[in-house]
């Protein structure tokens, strides 16, 4: 019985392309979706603002 289930699962996986299996992983997508704006928008922006010289009094 267990073997039959495993076979079904394997067949099902074979029907789905590796690319599709990758984007079916919501946690991988979550990582990409958080990392991209964090690096390109937030961190890059924070570095630029933090590097503005302070005006002399």
């Amino acid at each position: 019985m267990a073997d039959e289930n495993n076979t079904d699962e394997r067949e099902e996986d074979e029907n789905i392309s590796p690319w599709q299996q990758m984007i079916d992983n919501p946690f991988l997508l979550l990582f990409i979706g958080v990392a991209m704006p964090t690096v390109f928008y937030t961190l890059w922006g924070v570095m630029e603002i933090a590097s503005i010289p302070v005006a002399p009094y």
Binding site: E12, L29, G33, V34, M36, P37, F40, T42, I52
Partner: protein, 578 residues
Amino acid sequence: MAQFRQCPDTGLFFHKEAENLMKANAVAGVVCLLIGGILALLVVLTRWPAIHLLPADSFYMVLTAHGVCALIFWMIFFEMAILYFAGSTLLRSRLATPRWAWAGFVMMVIGAVMTLAAIFGGKSSVMMTSYVPMRAEPHFYLGLVIFAVGALIGCFVYLGTLVVAKNEKTYEGSVPLVTFGATTACIIAIFTIASGAEILIPTYLWSIGYISHIDPAMYRLIWWALGHSSQQINVAAHVAVWYLIAGVIFGARPMSEKVSRAAYLLYIFFLQLASAHHLLTDPGLSVEWKLFNTSYAMYLAVLASMIHGLTVPGAIEVAQRKKGLTNGAFEWLRKAPWGNPVFSSMFISLVGFGFLGGISGVVMGTEQISIIIHNTIYVPGHFHATVVIGTTMAWMGLTYLLIPVLFRRKMIFPQAAKLQPYIFALGMSMVAVFHMAAGTLGVARRHWDMGFAGNPLGFEYPATAYLLMGIAGIGGVIGVIGGALFCVIAVGSLVFGEKLQKEAGLLQSFGVPLADSAYTNEKPARLPMAPAEAVEADHGESGFEAPGTFILAMVLLVSFVIYYFINWKYLSEVWGIS
């Protein structure tokens, strides 16, 4: 043991706990829309120069509450309902950790009440953006933080539900496209809420005196990762609703599911970077940062929206043509069910989002052009097209769909419901278009008195600007009437609508569980993978599968090009070139 019921009309399965959470979140959202709408009327009647209803201090208080209620609370409550629907109902799965989901909902309600109490207390009229160094009451920020944490819990309950569904094998193959779209919205929401925590927690500490100073430039940078990304959650979610409604009403399937999923993937990669277009006129950020985050990356997100804007009507056209509506390029559209508010709301949302919101958004996201419209009333014109015509109308369409399916009530006033989307769309289109036009003449956004009466640096706008603001005011009143009609129909149906199931009592409309007799402990059958499309006779014309949609797409493209160059012309008039 998980309990499910099957809707006899649609065949959809509802998990008991998920169903109650959907109802509670949707109702809370509509209550916020109602409050936001009443406040909108006061804003409209004040910015209408001939009426100028409220005194200045009340106006800023009301405008702050309107922004927070309509742009944050209404949207995010409703999005939580969509997440639970997409995760549980569409995947035929039980909801993961319903108690946590309820805890999240309670936190969102407490946070919303706390923030609104702070605003109506009169000392937190800092606008939705709450730019420092303007200081609101501490519970203004604390309420927003609590609301955000509640929403974050909801997002993780949704992700947990995806895991449960996969482990319990409730579906074959990949998740349906609508659930994939909801996952995209959830991912954007997590980044958005995290950014909100990054900036609102320090701001709260500043408001109670633990931090002495918050840098305004840094605040703006991080705040817009919250402020703009929160609207990107809406985009991802309302596109998912378009696909859902097209599927339910027409049996339409995406023209290419792979392309549609790839477009969502572009949203995950690039959509949130568009926050940068709020900072295009800010000093301190380099041209490279601005160009990458707007021109180079944002346009890939725009490409994704254009793909969705093409594939949703394209899918409808293909489905209609298969039913024999093949005369000319637009018979499929002429004979669409325009009297069905589910469809009309959705299609107006799609067209309004693309033509009004999309085109103006890309134009504003161009660094040079942004200079002439930044901080003018053009900006509210743009986002009322995206968030109100685009998102709110999609939510309205979904509500009309769910009143009988989820709430098990028959809709009241069906004739009025047929008209409601058109009234609302007419009013809000007038608001969007005439605000954008007035913004092009330089009318400031947010300002109580466009004439700057008594100000030593007053500015005399041309009479046309006053006329445009007056017409926008008329549009706003029409829009509020359309919105009020929606609230009457939606809430009235839950209270007075004929019961489609004997267990669907009054309290059950607001999140109290149906009687156990409505549910079975039997697990729903596994959701089958959608069969491959059978190759059928070509129903298109001239080699195009969806020629009408292609023509509409070309009209959009030409409109965009013309409008883009008109704005460059305006810019050239600001600084004459010799």
